[in-house]
Point group: C2
Chain length 488, copies 2
């Protein structure tokens, strides 16, 4: 056997160029794939061997397998015809940042393990905070600062833990069964999961009901009522999760009012703007986060709609010591002079894992290679495309727009002639299955006030007006077919 | 302003090729950098602007800044002269896998969001389980299975949560204050952090003392004694964290005995083989995980010493339903037919975050492009280099090997003429600072039984015998200098 040279610079160059061409060709042909993978469960096991090879195989063999076996099982989030969930943007700049991070391949748990990784992250999150006009208290130059988490789930978990531990220091650790968390029923499931992880009792997770009267935003009255009741029952309200741009319908919770209630009751106030935060770099959308000055923490996912490849979830806190108090460990084998002199940030103490990638590189490259003006134009273009889609829906009397469109998501549904909610829901379920199984577009769904709703989320980097128009045609055709079957 | 085309296939091709060349050149010149970055805290803020650019900048400008501003702040984990902590391997195959994953950029939380991502992960972790000769119960074809976590910290957290919730179902959620976790004082700090997150009371985290009499392995007697005492105090022992290859000295806990004690007391038995797991693909090291058949979960980091770029932490469990019960959420907006028919694995329910990268690609490419035989030779070569370093230490009477070498880590120290522990410790601290500040090599330290120990961990992909010999020469020179100063 030849000696293995697993990191030969010239082999990296040769193979790296091949892979770049493979990926560039993938994007060139991306419209030819079914957006939603059409494979059946277990398809891949039949195509691959049962065990790892003993001897090396060639790169060409692997690339051939990617083409013939892997790509058919991929749901193409970067397809211009992808309108499901929320977007997860890839871009040339984000991709280059990922490459560079994978190339350097360092593990930045402490400042000393790569000062540039920690410092660039602090700087770039300050840049992004300024672009969002966050209050200065969220900047790293004061008591707060930003940190890149993998996902919004991890962001809400770490701040929930910080808030929990602050309260338990005062109330004693046996008080955990009394801690109460609040959010609307439109809040992302990640908060519920964070509560389970943190040991918050499930019956103390208050899911406050919303409806169309507030466009599915959390009502301040409902929150203060719940808090008063819990206090009078001897419980300890301690955390509010609010959302700017809910997953189901991009509702925006009334931050200023919620902030007042949180502050006067001593709650940690967290804002999840995972999706809609990106829009707030545009001056005309910045008002959506008015009230952020009353929050303890704020989160937006640069990996959703801000051209930064997954994963890059930006979290800012006003009081970094709360995070550190909750999440720091200091084993001997990681001790070093810079950390012990308290001169540096060690991001290991702001997150769940110890190890961490050099994720700020990709966000830095996105901001530099595109510039804020271009990024604003990018966001506005998607919102305009969604507005056009909404217009198309409104022009067809068989459909209705089912919730106000605020950003680039349109919630809509096919109306049923009969006045029967379950039949209408079934009709829309069938419409979803029908369009997704064409492979021509991919949309997802939600339920609002027991009504099944289709979600059309514009936001893939390659989406143009023609893709939106074609998607609508397919939706209309499938709707016509389903409605005609009903008449038969 | 020109229209932004953030994902233009031909721009990706052009810029991608440039970045490949940049990274290949980085590896070509990697020996020219100081291994440990020599910058001062805050260095980067002085070099970068205060806010993000409004207008786009050129790729060349960014690459120039990477060269002149970022790389000086990087600690070069891939340098052949990197011997600190544990390795974090990069390889051509791992790098290609990262590129491809970043190129496809999908978010595989549920099977449907990219069936290939879920299925390849199941298959490749079965491959790796077979290479490690893990019992069949850990394969995905039964009730168990493997999953890629970001880090060993997340791996131990998710199994701790699964174990916690299983016990609390029986004992009631108010029993959380009675739950007891066990590990040796050599266990990684990630278990302590996981306990904090999960709400285990700090006084119920039993850190069992080890010493040189067991080569810093956990003594079964000490464990069973602690369990008996806790049971008689009305507490509930529920989790044991054992280690194969501890961070300080690569000690190996006696798995068969620990397994018996765990099983007879109903504890969840987790094995952390984050570093040393890789060695167990070699038949002559497989005995180190004898006893894994008694474990509930087993973890090894392919991103440490198995040529798979960070992050790729492989976790196997025998009972996947325990994880799912603890970590699943099922919001309406993620419901889909494949999941509801229970025909598929949705890895979102095996981990903390919702979103997840296509991480199996890089492990698959490592296994295919190198083959198991090459990977075994790779591991053996590092162990042989460590053996040579140990030999060099033994030849110099001013030094001693401070703990048995089992894999590719050598624990050693400079002896002090006086018989004073603190003076000897200070001497070794000074030696560490002296060699690391040359930039010629980077080593780290630990403390064993109050003695400050230097750690020399071989494992970077480019390390050859000459690097080990040169590192030893630098250590000897700096030691001579420090000892001569003492005599003056």
């Amino acid at each position: 056997m030849d000696e293995l040279k697993p990191m030969d610079a010239e082999q990296l160059r040769e193979y790296g160029h091949k892979m770049v061409d493979f990926i560039a060709d993938y994007y060139k042909n991306i419209e030819n794939f079914p957006v939603l993978s059409q494979v059946q469960p277990g398809y891949l096991r039949e195509l691959l061997p049962d065990s790892a090879p003993v001897h090396p195989e060639s790169l060409q063999d692997v690339l051939d397998d990617v083409q013939s076996k892997i790509l058919p099982g991929v749901t193409h989030w970067q397809s211009p015809d992808y309108f499901a969930y929320f977007p997860s943007n890839s871009s040339v700049a984000g991709f280059l940042g990922e490459m560079l991070s994978a190339g350097i391949n360092m593990v930045g748990f402490s400042w000393i393990t790569s000062p540039a990784a920690t410092e660039l992250e602090m700087i770039v999150l300050d840049w992004l905070a300024k672009a969002l006009k966050l209050p200065d208290e969220f900047l790293s130059t004061g008591q707060g600062g930003g940190v890149i988490q993998g996902t919004a789930s991890e962001a809400v978990l770490v701040v929930l833990l910080a808030a929990r531990d602050q309260v338990l220091i005062r109330a004693g650790k046996d008080a955990i069964g009394k801690l109460v968390v609040y959010s609307s029923d439109q809040n992302h499931s990640s908060l519920q999961k964070a509560c389970k992880i943190a040991g918050i009792h499930p019956e103390n997770f208050r899911v406050l009901k919303t409806d169309s009267s507030t466009d599915y935003a959390l009502s301040p009255e409902s929150l203060s009522g719940a808090i008063s009741q819990d206090i009078s029952s001897g419980l300890i309200p301690f955390f509010l999760g609010a959302t700017v741009g809910t997953t189901s319908s991009t509702a925006v919770d009334p931050l200023p009012e919620l902030g007042k209630i949180s502050n006067s009751n001593g709650l940690w106030f967290h804002i999840d703007a995972a999706y809609a935060g990106s829009a707030c770099v545009c001056p005309e959308y910045r008002h959506c986060i008015n009230g952020v000055e009353g929050a303890n923490s704020f989160n937006m996912n640069a990996h959703k709609w801000f051209l930064t490849n997954f994963d890059c979830s930006a979290l800012w806190v006003k009081d970094r010591s709360a995070l550190i108090q909750s999440l720091s460990t200091n084993p001997e084998f990681l001790k070093n002079k810079a950390s012990q002199d308290n001169k540096v940030v060690d991001y290991k103490d702001w997150q769940i894992p110890l190890g961490r990638r050099f994720r700020s590189l990709k966000l830095w490259m996105v901001l530099r290679l595109y510039g804020l003006e271009n990024l604003q134009a990018y966001i506005r273009n998607h919102i305009e495309l969604a507005r056009k889609f909404e217009e198309l829906v409104n022009l067809d009397p068989r459909f209705e727009v089912a919730a106000p469109r605020r950003f680039s998501l349109v919630c809509f549904r096919l109306l049923s002639a009969e006045n029967n909610v379950e039949r209408a829901n079934q009709l829309n379920r069938e419409l979803l299955e029908a369009v997704n199984s064409t492979g021509e577009l991919f949309i997802s769904h939600t339920v609002l006030s027991e009504t099944y709703i289709l979600r059309f989320a514009v936001g893939a980097p390659l989406t143009e007006e023609r893709h939106v128009v074609e998607a609508w045609k397919t939706l209309q055709e499938k709707a016509s077919f389903l409605l005609s079957k009903l008449i038969e």
